[in-house]
Amino acid sequence: MKQVRKTKASIGRRAFLGGVAIGAGAAGVAAVVSAAASEPAGAGKSAPPPTGYRETDHVLRFYESASF
């Protein structure tokens, strides 16, 4: 029974997210993210994949300019 409840809840969550909360407009930002990622290679691109935090170009630029 517990499993059934959990499944129902998870459908509720997905319906909420996909139908009410986050609409197709978010697809627009995914495109911005993808576009930024397909720009000429930054330092991060040649770094070895998986495991470990991978910095975005933005964060790299931030770290270069930050003066906290």
Partner: protein
């Protein structure tokens, strides 16, 4: 985001959208956008949802000259002696930078196998870093995608308890023009996530 900017196979669309929003907002909060980014911001369509309307407002605000937006970023987040907002968890939770909340975050990052980049001289509890960790957890940038429970744990421990106050401060900051709808989108994402996690 450099590493994962495509939808991983089998990832539900709503999780891809969540991840995209985290990455998108993390990017805008982590550095002043460059010209190419601002150009793509102008083309974001938005939609009828509250967050879609905030995205549309970001698109309109991106009509400002790129240099104006970049200057605004500096005044808000960097400044000569500090910005108008301090986007670090430790500051909001303890009143100071480099306090216990940062230590707690670091131990969770170790547990999750996430390492801060070598070039990061700044604390990891910056909102941009935390949003990008959420993006990575959802997409599986650090190995397998994290299950919902782990995502919720990370969110509750390091974001949910304070970031809304940062976004309120950012929206009200004297210099905020372009970053006002960014703050609104951030605040909406937080409340959507809280509601959705409660349904999981």
């Amino acid at each position: 985001m450099v590493a994962v900017a495509w939808k991983p196979q089998g990832l539900p669309e709503e999780d891809w959208f969540r991840a995209s929003l985290y990455g998108f907002l993390g990017g805008l909060l982590g550095a002043a956008p460059d010209e190419g980014t601002v150009r793509s911001l102008r083309a974001i369509p938005g939609d009828g949802t509250p967050i879609g309307s905030a995205l549309r407002d970001i698109a309109s605000a991106a009509a400002l000259p790129v240099s104006t937006i970049q200057k605004e970023y500096d005044v808000l987040f960097i400044g000569l002696t500090g910005g108008q907002v301090v986007p670090f968890a430790s500051y909001y939770l303890s009143g100071f930078l480099f306090e216990k909340p940062l230590a707690a975050l670091r131990s969770d990052l170790v547990r999750l196998g996430i390492e801060a980049g070598e070039r990061s001289a700044d604390p990891e509890d910056h909102i941009a870093f935390l949003f990008e960790v959420m993006q990575g957890l959802i997409l599986g940038a650090f190995g397998e995608p994290a299950d919902l429970q782990s995502q919720k744990q990370f969110f509750d421990a390091h974001i949910g308890s304070w970031a809304d106050r940062l976004f309120a401060d950012l929206e009200a900051a004297p210099a905020a023009v372009f970053y006002r709808p960014v703050a609104r989108a951030g605040s909406l994402l937080l409340s959507i996530e809280m509601d959705a996690f409660a349904m999981a």
